[in-house]
Symmetry: D2
Subunit: 426 residues, 4 copies
């Protein structure tokens, strides 16, 4: 799946394996079996399924392939917890993952422990081939992706509950004021983009290739709730001229009136968060907006979304720091005053680039070739990670992707615009 063999030693991988697996389990540790069993929509999965599927990944691609005398933990799990790998076989239907009260959460936790032990034994007892190490490393990055999905899928489930439950208590903190929006200019030209080198990356991040950019400007920070509220109050959701045609269909057919987690109560605006319903904070980045909404907002603001290459160009010079899942505050924070704030972390930033193969792209051989490539259709690229992304998971070349209408991720907006000397004389 990944184009390059990761540079990690076997010992270091073993330690990472233990750490990442424990982080996953910790996400569900304060939840009940019923919290972990429900599915809010076909696009989201029960937490129990995530716990099992990430384990299935190691059992199927590591233990089955590289461990001697491996016996399946359970004869049905190969089918039940296969997400979409046709090369492995049939899959239990995605939309029915919420119909499985059995295997119980406890069974799944035993499954996790069993596979953890076997993988640890495998790594401890024999020198693994480069292929085996590569798939093991891939499994860890795969698991980190599911860590983020566990938070967003569970947030979506809770957001449908009229009781507005709390997943984790809010982190207290002084409210921040929004910083001023301004523009940072970039010179265009021919440059190289995409991943290269020995470090791990998904196959869709490469190969590194040339791409030409015109001059452009990028906003210094993501769009805030306060700015987005002005769009809403200016009739943003009632004016078809601001929307892509498909976006307007989404607005009208789904009765969108605001971002996915905004709520109104007796005239006041609130935002549903993983810490329950909170007053809408004007200074924080707007999140849970679809690509359609991001695009419409940008048009209203006389700007546009950046391309993924513009984003990568800008991010290449910025240290990979930000507000990630490790902070424990599972909600985007107000951006600090900086030339290019919050490119990493807080909210994934929608780009105008469709999720397509880079020139020369080749999926990996075998079943893991299905990991990324087959989704290169009708999706758009998001960049930079969010407050639910593990810090060690993100890269400047990292390409996340979702369909235009998806809004249950921590997705937000950074504006871009062309740079026309005549117009921007100042």
């Amino acid at each position: 799946m990944h184009m390059e063999t990761g540079a990690l030693s076997q010992a270091r991988l073993a330690r990472q394996f233990a750490r990442v697996r424990a982080q996953t389990s910790a996400l569900a540790s304060n939840l009940s079996a019923e919290d972990c069993a429900l599915q809010s929509m076909p696009d989201a999965s029960p937490l129990k399924w995530h716990l099992a599927h990430t384990t299935w990944f190691f059992e199927t691609f590591v233990l089955e392939c590289f461990a001697r005398n491996h016996a399946p933990f359970h004869p049905s799990y190969r089918y039940l917890f296969n997400s979409y790998y046709n090369a492995i076989g049939e899959q239990y239907p995605r939309g029915q993952r919420g119909l499985l009260s059995r295997p119980a959460l406890d069974d799944i936790l035993r499954y996790r422990e069993h596979v953890n032990v076997r993988v640890a034994e495998l790594v401890a007892r024999q020198a693994l081939s480069a292929d085996a190490l590569a798939i093991l490393e891939l499994g860890l990055h795969h698991e980190q992706q599911h860590q983020e999905l566990m938070l967003t899928d569970f947030k979506h489930l809770l957001s449908l509950n009229p009781l507005y439950p709390v997943y984790r208590e809010a982190v207290p903190g002084a409210p921040a004021a929004a910083t001023r929006l301004n523009w940072r200019a970039f010179e265009g030209g021919l440059a190289d983009f995409g991943h290269e080198g020995a470090d791990f990356a998904f196959d869709n991040e490469g190969p590194r290739h040339k791409h030409y950019l015109a001059d452009f400007e990028l906003a210094n920070r993501p769009v805030t709730n306060g700015e987005y509220l002005a769009f809403v109050e200016d009739g943003g959701y009632r004016r078809p001229e601001l929307w892509l045609s498909d976006g307007w269909v989404a607005v009208t057919s789904q009765s969108w009136r605001a971002p996915g987690c905004w709520r109104e109560r007796e005239g006041a605006r609130f935002e549903f968060t993983l810490s329950g319903l909170q007053p809408l904070d004007a200074a924080r980045p707007v999140t849970h907006v679809s690509h359609f909404e991001a695009d419409a907002y940008a048009r209203w603001a006389s700007a546009r979304l950046p391309t993924e290459f513009e984003w990568e160009r800008a991010a290449a010079d910025v240290p990979l720091q930000g507000h990630f899942v490790e902070s424990g505050e599972l909600h985007p924070r107000a951006s600090p005053d900086a030339p290019l704030a919050a490119l990493f972390g807080d909210v994934w930033e929608w780009t105008q680039s469709d999720y397509a193969a880079y020139p020369g792209y080749r999926p990996a051989a075998g079943a893991v070739g299905e990991y990324n490539g087959k989704f290169m259709s009708n999706q758009y690229v998001l960049r930079g990670g969010s407050c639910a992304t593990p810090r060690s998971h993100i890269r400047v070349t990292y390409r996340n992707f979702f369909p235009s209408g998806a809004r249950w991720q921590f997705s937000g907006i950074r504006l871009a615009r062309g740079r026309e000397p005549a117009e921007r004389g100042d």
Copy 2:
């Protein structure tokens, strides 16, 4: 809702309340929180919802109306656990009952206990009005209906699980042979039907009224799996001429090939039961058939379904005995050799009668008037109770009702036919 004040004394009602409420809780006592939280389809509800809604009934119709200084257990429960009583207010959408991980099962069990205590106090401390006693008694029959639905809804959920889980271990027993099918003849004439008297009955069972019957014959027992298998193997599901037009649409659009719980594995036939997957037992009554299937089978067998009046005429002379939920064997048993076996218990028997108001029918005043009457449209009457019905819940005048396509209940078939002297000379 019920037309007559029940004849039970307040003290006896108090004892029944304690018993029925305990029976409900016992049904879920061996299940996990995740077992109780899932919803398999909009027509079925999570067990947790049943546990809460039956409690809501007593809180809303008894405590709110008759207890001094009643304070709601939780401000949202009035909305969350209202099934369909518009007079009480808005209802949480039926199809989303499976999206509520909170309130947790433990919260619902506390809610049950709280209301149990309050109702017990109410009954112990003051002499209740006839109205209060009547609604309390209604609540117990309501709760018994939900006891049966808990079993059928949960069976439906488990039936979708590829692991075929066991709810309760099978009751061991010697396999019985099917008894011979024969016909019992009844004289027609004008007679009285429906409930009358001081004992409890639902409002839809009355008023007692005259109805004319022609001579008819009734089968001595329900159709067996073995008989139904002959229909299947004779192309029953491939021959449109055997089906009502809407039934044929159901067959083709839902790909029906056999009753709802039949399964095939490597050429052998099995039946999914609350004790897991079992070899199909030819001697037991066929169950989980829709009205459409019952009607098609009857046509294939050169017979027809009885009307509800024919059924009631035949049952009027039969002792109210049979195989009910108290046996612990949650599956229909092979019928004994008797002139009219298994009219009560084992399987609900589809009639050809649509579920309509008896002449002079009037729903009760107030919100409980919504209990029965508003469903008198596009449903068919079933009679006699099943292996999941409490013995004390059923009556000869009892009218159950479901739409033509429903097949997740313990519904079966008893054949009828006209009696034409020339044809039936014996």
Copy 3:
């Protein structure tokens, strides 16, 4: 299909054949090919299809069976114009009848002429068997049914056109005042219902059989637009307590606010008719109401719908006169002042009786056995014919049937109520 051999002589049948066939063609004679080709919904058919299907009936059931050396007019018509006779073979899908620009209307008119000539030859040249005469007579009644459907299907199509086209110019006439609503009382008792004798009837009208009625009262005329408007203005479409549960689902999911052809323009109420948009006439019977609306109106009016037996009992003593299609005024008229006005003609009257087999019912042998019996499920009986029914088509035992939500027929409401001496002292 019909139980009895019609009493008509072969010569008289031949004359009727010519007359009925010409009447059908005349209905479309002022319409364009495009008027005749469109389908407004799966339940309705293009006029061209009606013209072809009624011809197909004679070709398939008369010429194919009884004419020597019959060659099909076109090899595909057997398939294209078969409505629902599985015994004849596969059918072109109902919902796609509006996708056939070919065969052209002119081709269909040639088809009609061809079959007319062949049937006339057959009848002229040989003495037909009783079976042949019976199916020929059935074909004429079948064709008359389609004459009414042509008018209602076409009205439905035009009603969706924002231009509100006129099919036939309105018949001028002085506006009538509504007559006073009063009640006519009937004694109950055991009586005979259904068709008997040598005259033609559909198989579903028999056999004649005994049925017991309690005393009842019937309104002297159908409910008027003015009366129904009072229901609308009293919040009839906003009050769930007035509706059957399924009816309320229809109201909310389909946004019903008034009968199917009522329109509002700048605060004034209009009714779409086959003569275009007309001011709502308070004196005329309300029409294009579903069974759900008829039932809700009756509940609001503290009454109920009659059973089909009550209706037949009342109609048995009334001369078969009324306002039928022959008048040329294709809209119900204000009812005259009479003890039982407009039982026949004007609007079909919804009953509370589900469309079910009479005791002893047997469908005819062969393909025409599919004519009626297989629809005895989830439909309700309407009685009496409408302003779009041919006078010679209706009978006191005639049973029309449609699902509860259907409202594109000329369906209306006649109220009934029980008769309780204490309450009704007069």
Copy 4:
């Protein structure tokens, strides 16, 4: 809408107006009113609607804006025939265009004539502004687009008719053999793409901008039916590994087994054409394939689809010649033996490029700004025109676009591949 004022003189535009308008009418001249009224699916429109909408374009954007004292031809047409211009007002729902038997075809032809006369008068009597001339020219290109849609929409309608009607008799001709597939190599580098200059182009073709290409190779001609048949027979529609994930959903949910117009009869393969059903010709280009099918075929053939920039780079040096609608043969022809055959005409060639804005793109001001830009979402670019495209309508920079699943256009496949010296040693 277009970025540049066209270079045509007013007199030349007047002549083109007359010619293009006449060509549109001629397409329907041999069809009946019913042929012109039907709608096969929401994506396609009745021919009558196309005839009216193209006229509406001139009435709304030319006569209303630039003619003195313009009175609307009909008060409802502004609403009825507005396709998707929200700035003009509400639109009659797209999916219901097939429900309008009125206005009649004759009315629409009168509408065309009326607007033709008024536009001709306008152009004859006054010197028009550059804006007026530009919108008039745009209207002609708009009308040419609809000319092609009339053929493809009507072909789709006929393809659903079991009679397989003929729109235009087939052009006789000697069958051609397929030419050999070979590859033409292109050097990469930074180059300019998109429209520039005074000639007409749609706004989405500009602005001209730089884009970098790696070396690549392009097939000398489109994929043939024979080649595609090999894919089908190799299990192409049964092997998920060949498909994008969304493509595989389309294959399974829509039961795709072959291109949209292929039919099987008694074991032989046919293709439905505008000349009726014809034996499948292995030498002709495959057509009526979706983007999903084009992508899957390319993967099976160890190649890929070209980007739109690769296509434009190759086409820039090729004369704009090919098989267009003027030939009268409304079906793609076998490609001649040429270094780069059939880039223009025959079949639109799917590219792997999503339909997105070029850098610096700005839609035109006003309502015509809705012409192109708002569809830049979830669609893919096709290049080169087809056998149904007018010769004068196509350009090397022309960008057609359709969603991934669309296959009722004359869409085909040209393969591309990267150029890797090591692998391609010749």
